[in-house]
Symmetry: C2
Subunit: 332 residues, 2 copies
């Protein structure tokens, strides 16, 4: 298992960069996260998003002085504060680093290297992949809560307690470039990719109107300086809305995408978010015989219990009917 | 990379087992999860746990008829309902399966195989590991939210909305053996371990008073039938309270533990929960130069944003001071 030893990651400085923050108030999650994010792995105005607090109310709140320390939603405590979540992210990124070395070695000795981008006409039950030929190798990452933790925005949102606001999020994209930190492990895995001459490409649902600021945020976090429409693809660059397949296709036209990293299933294929896909079917799809082999071996998932397509479903969607328990002590 | 192909996991039937449930009401997480679980990766009565609802209140609620469909806390939607969390669990377990094959191959060809159990006197900054000699190989797993998802209990708890109740949890251990499902990937990884003659050992903070019922729950989920004090270790079997190091030491006396799996840092070492360890220090510790290499290569972390030591910390603990953002539009 020499492969397991191939990546001497240096984390001394990095160890200080883990504890960062992002959150949507917990109540937003169960109530609207589903509609809010279904089909969108990243930030997007939901039809029923909380509105901005009226200015009068804000002025009154300001006059009332600073509020008590906000309560931190559990999902945010976990993702941004815990060693457990940091270990989970680091685990995924170290697996990625080893995988990148393996694939670049395969290419170096002349073996065919497979792409992990689904080809047009694929289904989740019968996936096919685009050909690589001798295209240069690339790693494709989502940005928010995959490469970057949106510390400043979410800290501000948690403090306000008013929920997600797409207008404030847009101002964050434009001005928040220094309020981010890399996800634990991202810095080292991306360094491994660059040393192995693997292009690092970002595919995000941030707006392409803010391309330069998003590139600056990525660069400021030490993840390199991506070039818009080559190594940085954003909402509006290709295809409709927040679907990422059209952008993935453009990336795959130029690069042999050997690995993808994300915190949402839409970071791997839009098929997971096909209209009418039930929660149980969506959860079952990732475990299908053809796809399951990809997790940790080309598709790398990161945790995000704070927002996104993972936070949806009512009681009867989430709980199967065949596993009920009757407390012998009774009670309602 | 033939290793990546070594594990043909069959998931057709398994794909239906993913959508299960467990939850503590969201508000419980941020408010009390820290105190509640610090030093305890599993279920234990917290000093400030919600009390049972008074019988009169329950009778009144019963008289009032069935309540509206409960709201599902976001962490539970994520862990028990989402494809994202299922992919994350499957990713960890497939990495484990490959790792087990690699280690058992090393042993088979006569190479020394390292233990992943910390030796007495270790620190997180300077870990040392117990010697393996020629002891039989073993895989050590936590039970709750690592091997098993506690569907029945948590579904009942979510319906009640009254929070964690240690007395009800004890009744669950005694009578809930059929209301569980394996975590996505656990069934296949454990099958790989058994095929490779690697002992499968469970180290849980369930009570040793309920050993036979916990063994039945594990067996009923298809994970094999563990033997108490050999391949099943529970709270009360060795050492004080919910610390697991004493039990790990007993397991390591007999077995060469090549891998450990858990959803809490205490499933790997009690050192992470040393009294007075701050949140940032705890998060930084997992990324230390000596330990980080273990994640996914001996220590395998699984997601749990629903309860446990990952859910703790106030606003100033979780948010670093150097990443604030001032919205140019102002507002409180």
């Amino acid at each position: 298992m020499t492969l397991l030893r191939l990546v001497p990651l240096a984390c001394a400085a990095f160890a200080l960069q883990g504890c960062v923050a992002a959150a949507v108030p917990a109540l937003a999650g169960s109530a609207i996260a589903g509609k809010r994010f279904l089909g969108d792995g990243d930030r997007e105005p939901p039809a029923n998003a909380p509105r901005l607090v009226p200015k009068a109310a804000l002025d009154a709140a300001i006059a009332a002085g600073p509020p008590p320390e906000p309560t931190v939603p559990p999902g945010m405590q976990y993702l941004y504060g815990s060693g457990e979540a940091a270990a989970l992210s680091l685990q995924s990124y170290m697996a990625l680093a080893n995988f990148l070395i393996a694939r670049s070695s395969d290419r170096e000795i002349g073996h065919d290297v497979p792409s992990v981008v689904l080809a047009p006409g694929s289904t989740l039950a019968a996936p096919r992949f685009v050909p690589c030929g001798d295209k240069p190798l690339a790693l494709v990452l989502d940005v928010d809560e995959t490469a970057l933790l949106n510390l400043g925005y979410e800290q501000d949102e948690a403090r306000r307690g008013t929920g997600y606001d797409p207008l404030r999020w847009d101002r964050w994209e434009k001005t928040g470039t220094r309020g981010v930190a890399p996800v634990p492990g991202a810095l080292e895995a991306i360094a491994v990719a660059r040393r192995a001459d693997i292009a690092v490409v970002f595919n995000s649902n941030r707006s392409n109107a803010n391309a330069s600021q998003t590139a600056a945020a990525i660069a400021g976090a030490g993840l390199g300086t991506p070039v818009h429409l080559d190594t940085l693809w954003l909402k509006g660059d290709a295809g409709p809305g927040s679907g990422k397949d059209a952008r993935r296709a453009r990336i795959a036209d130029k690069y042999c995408v050997i690995a993808m990293v994300g915190d949402q299933l839409g970071d791997f294929s839009d098929l997971f978010n096909a209209p009418g896909t039930g929660l149980a079917a969506r959860r079952a799809a990732i475990q299908g015989r053809e796809l399951e082999i990809l997790w940790g071996q080309g598709w790398f998932m990161l945790p995000n219990p704070v927002y996104g397509t993972g936070l949806q479903g009512g009681y009867d969607d989430v709980f199967p009917a065949d596993k009920r328990w009757a407390d012998p002590a009774g009670g309602q």
